[in-house]
């Protein structure tokens, strides 16, 4: 199968959906002729023109809010934030408007908007360009939150997100953009809300998502050389959360390591641990272990950043720990 990059997968998914459905349009900063800060809209302006690929002012509250209004009235805007770090600025739009409108209004309208935004660190981009805020938005009912880890998943999930009649936050890890992977020429979609076992195993379950899936797979590979069989469950969607996939794997391996790039308190990883403590407690042979960022903002200097963010060695140590317990 041909291999394409993660960012190319984003472009393809968007272009295919734009061809399929004339109500799909793309808005953001520098997403027209410029092609997007990370190249995820390359070629769209040329193919679909200025009515469907619209460069916005630096007005996140305004243009994401416009996305909500447009989505409620017949368009399907795919709105890009240049970095997800400032999703704080349009957060009222997401938290108090988009997520609640359909419900508060008794189902009379829907808000089929996709908000795409790059997340993540490991780039020496410092405290305001390295964040992963998915946990905060996963807390809010009425938003779907997706974080693919491969070009294949990115393409299939983005197509589903664009077709979804609800607001979907689609977070793309910056370290993944240039990674390549097999993506079929034929059309396909991947359902939102389904985890994927990226590596089957029997001794320990690792639950991870986004860039941490790659780090977990690398760790699993190393551990395999010592005869330790790690199952890597890629959540892919953190809201809704595929509880069944988590529980099935944990019931099988009876040991759980959760790996996420961001902070631990009130996070996706906390939720995964809580679900297991509620629904599979008796299966656990060892305390749950979480591998997360340390409890500080992301520092600039690479030596500091690497210390704060999870590394392969941390994952390996965590797996050893749950096996020892």
């Amino acid at each position: 199968m041909r291999e394409i990059s993660f960012s190319q997968a984003i472009v393809e998914a968007t272009a295919e959906e734009m061809r399929r459905d004339p109500t799909v349009c793309v808005w953001g900063l520098d997403i027209g002729p410029y092609g997007g800060a990370f190249g995820c809209t390359r070629g769209l302006y040329e193919e679909f023109g200025p009515e469907r690929v619209i460069d916005m002012p630096i007005s996140e509250l305004g243009y994401v809010g416009m996305g909500v209004g447009a989505a409620a009235t017949g368009l399907r805007p795919v709105v890009e934030l240049q970095f997800s770090d400032w999703i704080t600025l349009p957060s009222d739009t997401l938290i108090n408007q988009a997520s609640k409108m359909r419900y508060m209004f008794g189902g009379v309208l829907s808000v089929p908007m996709v908000l795409r935004a790059p997340v993540g660190g490991y780039l020496a981009a410092a405290g305001q360009h390295s964040n992963s805020f998915e946990s905060m938005f996963a807390h809010i009912p009425g938003l779907k939150v997706v974080l693919p880890s491969t070009p294949y998943d990115a393409k299939g999930l983005l197509k589903s997100a664009i077709r979804d009649n609800n607001t979907v936050l689609f977070f793309e890890h910056k370290k993944l953009y240039e990674t390549k992977g097999p993506v079929p020429e034929e059309e396909y979609t991947i359902p939102i809300g389904k985890a994927d076992i990226k590596r089957p195993g029997t001794d320990v379950t690792i639950v991870a998502y986004a860039f941490m899936v790659r780090k977990s797979l690398a760790a699993a590979e190393q551990l395999a050389q010592e005869g330790i069989s790690v199952e890597v469950v890629d959540l892919r969607t953190v809201s809704p959360l595929d509880e069944e996939a988590i529980l099935t794997s944990v019931k099988k391996t009876q040991r759980l390591v959760i790996v996420q790039e961001t902070w631990r308190r009130c996070s996706v990883g906390a939720e995964v641990a809580a679900i297991v403590a509620e629904q599979a407690l008796d299966y656990l042979d060892a305390p749950v272990v979480r591998v997360t960022a340390k409890d500080v903002p992301i520092p600039f200097s690479p030596v500091l950043e690497n210390y704060v963010l999870p590394q392969e060695a941390d994952i390996i140590a965590a797996v050893r720990r749950v096996l020892r317990a």
Partner: protein, 319 residues
Amino acid sequence: MEIPRETLVLMLELMLKIRHFELRVKDLFAAGEIPGFVHLYLGQEAVAAGVCATLNKDDYITSTHRGHGHIIAKGADVKYMMAELYGKATGYNKGKGGSQHIAWPGLGILGANGIVSGGIPIATGAAMSAKLRKSGQVAVAFFGDGASNEGAFHESLNLAAVFDLPVVYVCENNLYGVGTRQTRVRKVENVADRAAAYGMPGQTVDGNDVLAVYRAAREAVDRARAGAGPTLIECQTYRWRTHFEGEPDTYRPPEEVEAWMRREPIAPYRQYLIEQGILSTREAEEIEQHVIVQVNDAVEFARNSPFPAPETALEDLWA
């Protein structure tokens, strides 16, 4: 500007309907029949009526916490509104929204909004949608003087100007945001003075003169529909009641309240219509009686409607 008789009469009817609806809500809230909070539109009727009389059924509006007037003026049935205020299953939004969150896309009503300025970007987006779909629709964002100090106002007006969107921004300047007088939170005299910062026409009108409101709105809506871009209209008006029902009025000079109540919008307009021979006194009376009956029926409807089944609370989240 020639205004059709039908429209002239409609504006009276809308104002009366808002007036009687709100007077009734006031009493029902005081009597404990309506839960939660209500923010009444009494005194500002000419703005909603004058603006919405220029709109088509499929044009969009976004509204505010003080939204009953806009929603009635845009054509909503007071029965379903009242039921919503009561939290009944028969309300426009099945009791999930209440006073601050009535929406009905079938009439272009994209929602009242509990977040001050929250509707402004949404209306702007609806206008973008109308433009891209080439539907010929126009969007109106209603908001208060207080909302014009929010970032959403600035960003939206700039966006609308940049893209020449078919949207009209209607600021209802009632001098106060809760207990704060506008002159203490804004240095420019008129909110409409801010339009220039976006390269957009701005106009201040007497918001208690429904004809003045209508004329300004007509022009702005026509401009918008013709593709000539957005307008900011400031309507100077006053709310009779405190910010929300139950709030003591500690902050407004009684003379000011009285003076504005004497300048109320409906009686002089009715007088005008009669003097102009557009309506007879009797016809005017009939219109008023008719809306009173509608409001009474709405109360009965609301009272007799069932509460939603508790489990329906889990419905309507996902599309």
